[in-house]
Amino acid sequence: MQKQLVKCNINGKDVETYVDVRASLTDMLRNDYRLTSVKKGCEVGECGACTVLIDGECYNSCIYMAIWADGKHIRTLEGLLGPNGELSDIQQAFVDEAAVQCGFCTPGFIMTAVEILETGKEYTRDELRKLLSGHLCRCTGYENILNAVEKTMKKRLGKA
């Protein structure tokens, strides 16, 4: 099958590779770059487990062509870690609030949380619920996830 060169920036690093034109961005990130935080869940854009940031906005990478990533800045959960593997504040909040059980939905939730937190705005609980509504979690019942995002938001805004 036809391959095409895709040059992009992933987690701050300029990279390039030839990908099968039929590949999804999930395929490319997992298979070519070993970024396995990007989960294959429903693969039809419903569960949010494959969510990554593209030029600062969250997308389901399962319904995004790998070849469209050319020239884009992509961020995955791996890019949040510090130089020695330290957890970022939002990841630590998920641990502290017991917002993780099986963990499959977690990377996707955290990437959407990153987009929310980087707006620098303060949202109500209902607004956060809507902003996070593109993710399914079958373990936690969502409350602890909302707590983790809300607490991190308040901390970053100096309100907690």
Partner: protein
Amino acid sequence: MYDFSAIYEATSVGNAIELLQAHPSAVIIAGGSDVLIKMREGKLAGAELVSIFKLDELRGVSLDENGSIRIGPLTSFSHVTKDPLIQKLIPVLGEAVDLVGGPQLRNIGTMGGNICNGVTSADSASTQVAYDAMLELTGPDGVRMLSIHEFYKGPGRVALEPAELLTAILIPKESYENCFGYYIKYAMRNAMDIATIGCSVNVVLSADKKTIERARIGFGVAGPVPLRARNAEAALSGHAADESAIELIGNAVLDDVKPRTSWRASADFRKQIISETSRRALRTSIERAGGAL
């Protein structure tokens, strides 16, 4: 991997038309949130795709010299919602598309795809129909304008000719000026769901805010394609902007609609929702226009 045989990435509108002429059976892919999902289901297996995703010239919202709002068909739902012109001139459209799917889908789904797929439940469609949107279609023979009312041909079918592309959605000035609207999506879930009924109402009130000068009512899922409730609109034209108008609309719209029974909802239940959403949407539209109820 998606199951298609080839993808051709268009570099301009002209190039997209050439690609569609060279590959007459090819399917157009814009954001992909319909096409790629159909492909995952095994539909469209082996199809050829012409991608218009990279055509940034078809993104964004602007104002034409004659005052029409020009919406690029590749503009994502979230960008429509955040756009200052939309917020100022036709906020109901930004609110309507903020109810599509979920946040990630609203970043990839496009305004053009929402109507070109010919689906009656599309969240932007009832508002576009209610605002008499004009569509700019570009094909091998040049550009033509078509009213959205003539665009829908049946479920999943629209008036695009072979090798023709939707290149702009226009909301005329006389359509949005002094006009206030409200959209209600009725669905089982607040997110990631398809409308059981979509209802978009807008009104122009008289200077003293006591009379409805013009009312327009658009519905999704009230028939095979998005439709207007013309009889109810005629009954409301010149009617007092008071509680009697709210009473009237709920009954009058039932003569305009033909909902069907599906696994999502029965026709009778849809009729009840049609009445109630029309009442509520008219109430909010009148309030937004400065009327007192």
